[in-house]
């Protein structure tokens, strides 16, 4: 059965189906990437570097319906989000609730959102955040494969604590 040569029509159809599947596959990956990409928004209430806007005395901002964050002048806070478009509800002290929408570029992990700029409508309000060189967090030494016995090439099994999670 599997040894016979399929005729050319079947072959092209098969090729077409395979190409379609590949396209669907690639499309799905792009889709979930787009929908699932996580970002950290650093919300900033400071004087702009170039002096275009001044910090606002006190405000509170809620990102995508999360807990509102209070920021006085000169303060920063961060919010973790998922996806590309976000809704910011900013309430200036003694002022109105203003809703602003921002989009975030896909490829960046951390972004700086200057709230004063955003409220004033000065572009760009969202910029890439370049962190200072932070020391890598401390962790356990090298690799975990420190076997105790020198002639233990194949390690068949369960060292006692490899187990299903304690509650």
């Amino acid at each position: 059965m599997s040894g016979t040569v399929p005729d050319p029509k079947v072959k092209t159809r098969r090729l077409l189906v395979r190409l379609c599947l590949l396209a669907v596959y690639a499309g799905l990956i792009a889709l979930v990437f787009h929908l699932g990409k996580g970002h950290t928004l650093i919300l900033d209430n400071m004087d702009a570097q170039d002096g275009s806007v001044k910090a606002i005395e006190s405000l509170s901002v809620s990102v995508d319906g999360q807990e509102p964050l209070d920021l006085n002048a000169g303060e920063r806070d961060q919010a973790k989000v998922q996806g590309q478009g976000h809704r910011l509800e900013i309430t200036v002290k003694d002022g109105q609730k203003v809703e602003k929408r921002i989009t975030v570029p896909l490829s960046e992990d951390t972004l700086l959102v200057s709230l004063p700029r955003l409220l004033a409508g000065v572009q760009p309000a969202v910029t890439v955040f370049v962190p200072l060189e932070a020391p890598a967090p401390a962790e356990d030494q090298g690799n975990s494969n420190a076997f105790t016995s020198p002639s233990a090439p194949a390690e068949p099994e369960p060292a006692a604590p490899a187990k299903p999670p304690a509650p």
Binding site: G142, N143, N145, F147, T148, S149, P150, S151, A152, P153, A154, E155, P156, E157, P158, A159, A160
Partner: protein
């Protein structure tokens, strides 16, 4: 004409001797040549290889009876190892030193080895055809059971038990004060500061191989081989297939016990708890690379296999580590030893001499 004949005879030689053995042999030689180039001392490495050869020879030897009798690869060698551990711990408990300690350990482990082997053999007889997987899990279950036992058994020697708890055996117990290197040092030959040939150990291994060779030529031994290669013929000749298989399992288990004690005197530590889990696999890899198959094994397979395998296991990590300046020994070991077993398992059962 002549050219073709010599190519054919070369191929025949290769098939007879087994291509994998040849390839590995040349690879090993290449490693020895590469060693000094990356800063690894050849004499130290050779010394290491000989040491490990003697250390592991008995484990590999232990596999022979069961292969010959048709029980397959003894993945349950852990049971024999446990018997040996019991003997060794008892020997330390009783405070036996030196030769008395070593031979005492051997003697003390024998009743356990025989009982374990006998029960294990009876079990395997009931499951002909599926021995290997069952052997593996029986071995594992046994090791786990012993893990519980090591914590509960009433050992009291202070060298062996946990300090603050006051009871339960430690994971590794040093035999430094008892019988470390008792074989290795016997008639050892030292050449320079890095090379020491463990004569005693090698002699002991040679003795074991010789005895096995003799045994296979006795009436019982040939009956055992007959049972493995042609059970119907054996049965027709009046041989009890079950009895021969049980005997082979008992011998295998006993040799496993001897093996771990020899290993411990060379390595310097008694390793309990999870340690026996890995050991059958190294022995199996060794004998398979020596050219044995699931159905046939000879002394040549044991010697060549152990040497090549231990050589590989010693040289490959040390050369690669020195070369790449990084410690990849574990990964290399895993890939090499398991790769060999897989290769052997996937061969057609044409066996080399």
């Amino acid at each position: 004409m002549r050219g073709r004949a010599s190519v054919n005879s070369l191929r025949q030689f290769g098939a007879d001797f087994g291509w994998p053995r040849i390839i590995i042999f040349f690879f090993l030689v290449a490693l020895f040549f590469a060693a000094p180039l990356v800063g690894v001392r050849v004499d130290a490495s050779l010394s290491d290889v000989f040491n490990r050869f003697g250390q592991n020879a008995f484990f590999v030897l232990a596999l022979v009876p069961m292969i010959q009798s048709g029980c397959g690869l003894n993945f349950g060698l852990s049971l024999g190892i446990i018997a040996g551990l019991l003997g060794a711990t008892l020997s330390v408990q009783l405070g036996l030193h030196g030769a008395a300690g070593f031979f005492g350990a051997l003697a003390l482990s024998s009743p356990f080895a025989i009982v374990f082997g006998w029960l294990y053999g009876k079990l395997l007889n009931k499951v002909k055809g599926e021995e290997m997987t069952i052997a593996m899990y029986v071995g594992f279950a046994g090791v786990m059971f012993m893990c519980i036992m090591w914590l509960l058994l009433p050992y009291t020697a202070p060298d062996m038990i946990w300090g603050y708890a006051g009871k339960g055996l430690r994971t590794t117990i040093s035999v430094e004060n008892y019988w470390i290197h008792i074989l290795n040092d016997f008639l050892a030959v030292k050449v320079g500061p890095f090379f020491r040939f463990p004569t005693g150990e090698i002699l002991f291994a040679a003795l074991g191989a010789y005895l096995m060779w003799l045994f296979l030529r006795t009436k019982t031994g040939t009956a055992m081989t007959a049972v493995g290669s042609n059970p119907d013929y054996a049965r027709a000749s009046g041989i009890s297939v079950d009895r021969m298989r049980t005997i082979s399992v008992v011998i295998s288990t006993a040799l496993g016990a001897v093996g771990i004690i020899v290993y411990q005197q060379s390595f310097g530590f008694i390793q309990l708890y999870n340690a026996p889990l890995a050991m059958p696999f190294t022995a199996i890899a060794a004998i398979l690379i020596g050219g044995a198959s699931v159905k046939k094994a000879t002394m040549l397979h044991v010697v060549v296999g152990t040497f090549l395998f231990q050589g590989l296991l010693t040289m490959t990590p040390s050369v690669i580590n020195s070369w790449l300046q990084t410690d990849m020994s574990e990964v290399v070991r895993i890939v090499v030893s398991n790769g060999i077993i897989i290769y052997a398992l996937t061969r057609k059962t044409k066996v080399s001499k």
